[in-house]
Amino acid sequence: MRILVVDDSKAMRMIVVRTLQLAGYDEHEIVQASNGREAVEVISQAPPGLVLCDWNMPEMSGLDLLKGLRAAGWDVPFGFVTSEAAPQMREQALAAGAMFLIAKPFTPEDFQDALDPVLA
């Protein structure tokens, strides 16, 4: 499966990729984008099996990306990896169609808890 990691911080994309490997998902192909607009290009070329996306990004936020995908009929599984994890953010994410929200900082176990049900 292809997993698309979307974050404007290159450091955070590297940490997410490392955490995916530590959590046991190293057999999956990882692709990256640095904002929502780049992610749309990647998704339109070859839809991934899962999108792991930051919330706050320049060009296009993660929430705008998710709403745009759903409005266009794309049902790719989508989860947020974000520093903002207040209950109202989780509600907003789930209402827009996200499957989960992982709060930064996170552990490999956090990834397993969120991703196992999606990737199983």
């Binding site: 911080s9 955070m12 940490i15 706050n56 990004m57 520093s83």
Partner: protein, 151 residues
């Protein structure tokens, strides 16, 4: 009455970020101020809404390079300015996002900005601050609030 996260809260959040992503050592961050030297770097995110203010991470130049090296898995001597900016911005974003979740909402969190030197926000004042030491280098985390709200 509005709860404003304490200096201890700032320390706990910072320690969690450092332990998770920087050195894995809960005792890596020590309480207490350390001289920063001339070369400081500040990462900052702003909040606007029910709480208007800022969260800043200010550290010595060497600490900024150590942090970038840890996040990018490279040697401090090989770290570029772009990597320091990326790392300090993301650290400010993580600490700021977690502090935001303890503040009254709704508020919007800005994208991070990073400057060399210290940063002051016009019309705002420091309401909480904690001084830490990491690898013998200074790290100061502060929460600011617009004066109109703080009054």
């Amino acid at each position: 009455m509005t709860y404003i996260p304490s200096a201890d809260d700032l320390e706990v959040i910072t320690r969690e970020v450092w332990t998770s992503f920087l050195d894995g050592d809960p005792d890596g961050l020590l309480p207490g101020a350390t001289a920063a030297g001339a070369e400081e770097v500040t990462g900052c995110v702003h909040l606007s809404g029910a709480y208007t203010g800022s969260i800043m991470l200010r550290c010595s130049g060497p600490a900024a390079r150590y942090a970038a090296a840890a996040l990018f898995s490279m040697q401090p001597a090989d770290v570029t300015q772009n990597e320091v900016v990326d790392a300090l911005g993301e650290l400010a974003n993580m600490v700021g996002g977690n502090v935001k979740s303890m503040l009254p909402g709704p508020s919007a969190l800005s994208l991070p900005s990073v400057v060399h030197g210290q940063l002051a926000v016009p019309g705002a004042q420091v309401v909480r601050e904690v001084a830490l030491s990491w690898r013998g280098e200074s790290l100061v985390v502060s929460l600011w609030q617009q004066a109109a709200q703080a009054a």
